[in-house]
C-alpha cells in the first residue's frame, strides 16, 4: 500500500517587490522550529536565495546579517540561541550520497534547514517539509510565491 504524501496549500501570493517577498519570508520564519525543513524551488534568478536571506535576517533579528549565496560553499550556517539555521544550496550536488559528509542528517535534526535545489537531495529530502515555489511574474521584481505543507505537521502552519 502506498501512502500519498499529504500536501496542503498554505498560501499563494503575487509579491510585487523584493520587499513584499521579504515580508512574506519573515512571516514564514516566525512559524519554524528546529527540525523543520523549507525546500526553496524555482528557476535561476527566481529569488530563492533572496527569500532565504530575508528569512534568516528576520529570525536572527539582524537586518544587515551577511547571507552570501551558498552555491559554491554548499552550506552556510547561522548560530542562534533559539534555533540555528542551516542554509543549503544543492545546485552543485550531483548525487544525494554527497549529502552525508555535508552533515545533512545533523543539520535536519538540530537546525532549521533551508534547502535550495532540493531536487538534488533525491530520497534524502524528508517527506515532512515546507515547499516554497517561486516563479517570475509579469513585471520585473514581481514573483508568484506558493507555500505548501508536505506531510504531517500536527496542526502547525495551518496559515501564516
Amino acid at each position: 500500500m502506498t501512502t500519498t504524501p499529504q500536501r496542503h496549500l498554505i498560501l499563494e501570493q503575487i509579491c510585487d517587490s523584493e520587499a513584499a517577498t521579504a515580508t512574506l519570508a519573515a512571516a514564514l520564519g516566525t512559524h519554524l522550529q528546529v527540525g523543520d525543513l523549507v525546500a526553496l524551488r524555482g528557476d535561476l534568478g527566481a529569488g530563492k536565495t533572496t527569500l532565504a536571506r530575508a528569512l534568516i535576517r528576520a529570525r536572527l533579528g539582524h537586518p544587515d546579517e551577511a547571507v552570501p549565496s551558498p552555491t559554491f560553499t554548499l552550506l552556510q550556517t547561522y548560530d542562534d540561541a533559539a534555533a540555528p539555521i542551516a542554509h543549503f544550496d544543492l545546485y552543485r550536488v550531483e548525487d544525494p550520497s554527497e549529502l552525508v559528509e555535508m552533515g545533512w542528517d545533523d543539520a535536519l535534526a538540530d537546525a532549521i534547514a533551508l534547502v535550495e535545489w532540493p531536487e538534488h537531495a533525491g530520497a534524502l529530502l524528508p517527506a515532512r517539509r515546507i515547499d516554497v515555489t517561486l516563479s517570475f511574474g509579469d513585471s520585473e521584481g514581481t514573483r508568484r510565491v506558493t507555500i505548501e505543507r508536505m506531510g504531517n505537521w500536527d496542526g502547525r502552519l495551518h496559515e501564516l
Partner: protein, 354 residues
C-alpha cells in the same frame, strides 16, 4: 632566516590537495610539489584506473595525494619541519579529514602542526611566487569568494568589502547556464564574449558609485535573463553580445569597487607603495586582467596575479601560510595547535598576528 620545509593539506571544499613548499618567510619559495586531485595525472596508486569516487570524498583520496606530494618533492615525512592544514572555514566533514590527517602526520613526524584559515591561504599566496612586501590590497574573486582585503601582515587583515549575494565566479557560471553554454561557465563565457559587442545590451554594473567596497551580482543574473528573454530566440551572435555585455558589467563593477578600495588603502597606508593582488579562479579571465592592468597603470599601482594553479584551491598556499605562521610564532604552542578544532565558520577578521 631559516628555510623550512612544510607539508600543506587542503580539504575544505571541493578539492583534495597536498603540497610541499620550502622557503623562508617573506617569500618567494620553492614549490617542491603541488598535487590537486582534480588534476591528478598519476593513476599508479589505483593501478592505472581511477575509480569512480563521489565528489568531495576526501577520506578516500587524501592518503594517495599526500603520498604523491611527498614523493614528487623527493622527501620523506621525517624531512618536513611542520605540517599545515586548513582548519576552516568550509564543509566540516572535509575539513575534519584534512585536519585529523595532518595532526596525525605531525605527531608521527614529531614536528609542529599549524591550523590554517583557508582565506588566509589565499591572502598570503602571492608571496609564494613573488617578492611582494606588506601591505597590499587583495581582490579575491572565485566561485565561492568575492572580497577586498587590506593585507598588512600575517594575521593582519581588514576586510574592506565582500559580496552581499553571489560571488563573481558564480555569476559567470550561472550566466553560462542561462545561455546554454558549457561547464565550467567562466571560461565558456569569456571565450564567447570575445566575439561579442559589449555595448549591445545595457546591463547594470552593480553597486557602482556606492561609497563602500561591497559587491553584488545576483541582480545582474536576472538582468541577463531578462535581456535574453526580450531578445527572443538567441542566435550565436546574440549569445556572444550578451556575454560581452555581461562581462563588461562585471568588469565595471569590479573596477569601481577596487578603485574605492585603493582610496581606503592609501588612506590607511599613506607611505606604502600601492600594490594590488588579484587572486582566485576568476583572475584567469584575461579580459578582466587587462582592465585591472589599466586601472593600476592609471593609479601608479603594481599589479600581481598569482599563476592559475595557485588561484584555485590548492595545498601550496596552505603550506605557505603554515610556513609564514611558524616563522612568526615559532614552534611553541604545539599542544594548543594540536587541539585546534575544525571550524565551519571562521571569519578572516578573527585571526591575529602573533
Amino acid at each position: 632566516m631559516n628555510r623550512m620545509t612544510i607539508l600543506g593539506i587542503e580539504t575544505s571544499c571541493d578539492e583534495t590537495a597536498a603540497a610541499v613548499v620550502r622557503g623562508s618567510a617573506g617569500g618567494p619559495a620553492d614549490i617542491l610539489s603541488n598535487i590537486v586531485f582534480s588534476q591528478f595525472d598519476e593513476h599508479a596508486p589505483y593501478g592505472g584506473v581511477v575509480p569512480e569516487i563521489a565528489a568531495r570524498a576526501h577520506i578516500e583520496r587524501l592518503d594517495a595525494i599526500v603520498g604523491e606530494a611527498l614523493s614528487v618533492a623527493g622527501i620523506a615525512l621525517k624531512d618536513v619541519d611542520g605540517v599545515a592544514a586548513t582548519a576552516g572555514p568550509g564543509l566540516i566533514g572535509g575539513v575534519i579529514v584534512g585536519l585529523m590527517t595532518a595532526k596525525g602526520l605531525a605527531a608521527a613526524a614529531g614536528k609542529p602542526f599549524v591550523p590554517i584559515n583557508h582565506l588566509e591561504g589565499h591572502a598570503l599566496s602571492v608571496r609564494l611566487t613573488e617578492a611582494v612586501a606588506f601591505p597590499y590590497l587583495l581582490l579575491l574573486v572565485s566561485g565561492g569568494h568575492c572580497q577586498l582585503i587590506n593585507v598588512a601582515g600575517v594575521g593582519r587583515y581588514e576586510v574592506l568589502g565582500s559580496t552581499i549575494d553571489d560571488a563573481v565566479g558564480e555569476a559567470f557560471d550561472k550566466t553560462a547556464k542561462l545561455l546554454g553554454l558549457g561547464f565550467p561557465g567562466g571560461p565558456a563565457v569569456e571565450a564567447v564574449a570575445e566575439r561579442g559587442d559589449p555595448r549591445r545590451f545595457l546591463l547594470p554594473a552593480p553597486l557602482k558609485g556606492r561609497s563602500n567596497c561591497d559587491f553584488s551580482f545576483s541582480g545582474l543574473k536576472t538582468a541577463v535573463r531578462r535581456a535574453a528573454e526580450q531578445a527572443g530566440t538567441l542566435s550565436p551572435q546574440d549569445v556572444s553580445d550578451l556575454c560581452a555585455s555581461f562581462q563588461a558589467a562585471v568588469s565595471a563593477s569590479l573596477l569601481d569597487r577596487t578603485a574605492r578600495a585603493f582610496d581606503k588603502f592609501t588612506a590607511r597606508f599613506a607611505d606604502a607603495p600601492m600594490q594590488l593582488v588579484v587572486a582566485g579562479g576568476v583572475a584567469a579571465n584575461q579580459a578582466l586582467r587587462a582592465r585591472f592592468g589599466e586601472l593600476c597603470e592609471a593609479r601608479g599601482a603594481a599589479l600581481f596575479v598569482p599563476p592559475p594553479r595557485l588561484c584555485t584551491d590548492n595545498g601550496a598556499m596552505i603550506a605557505w601560510a603554515g610556513l609564514e605562521r611558524l616563522s612568526q610564532e615559532g614552534s611553541e604552542g604545539g599542544g594548543e595547535r594540536l587541539d585546534a578544532p575544525p571550524r565551519a565558520r571562521w571569519p578572516l577578521t578573527e585571526l591575529k598576528a602573533t
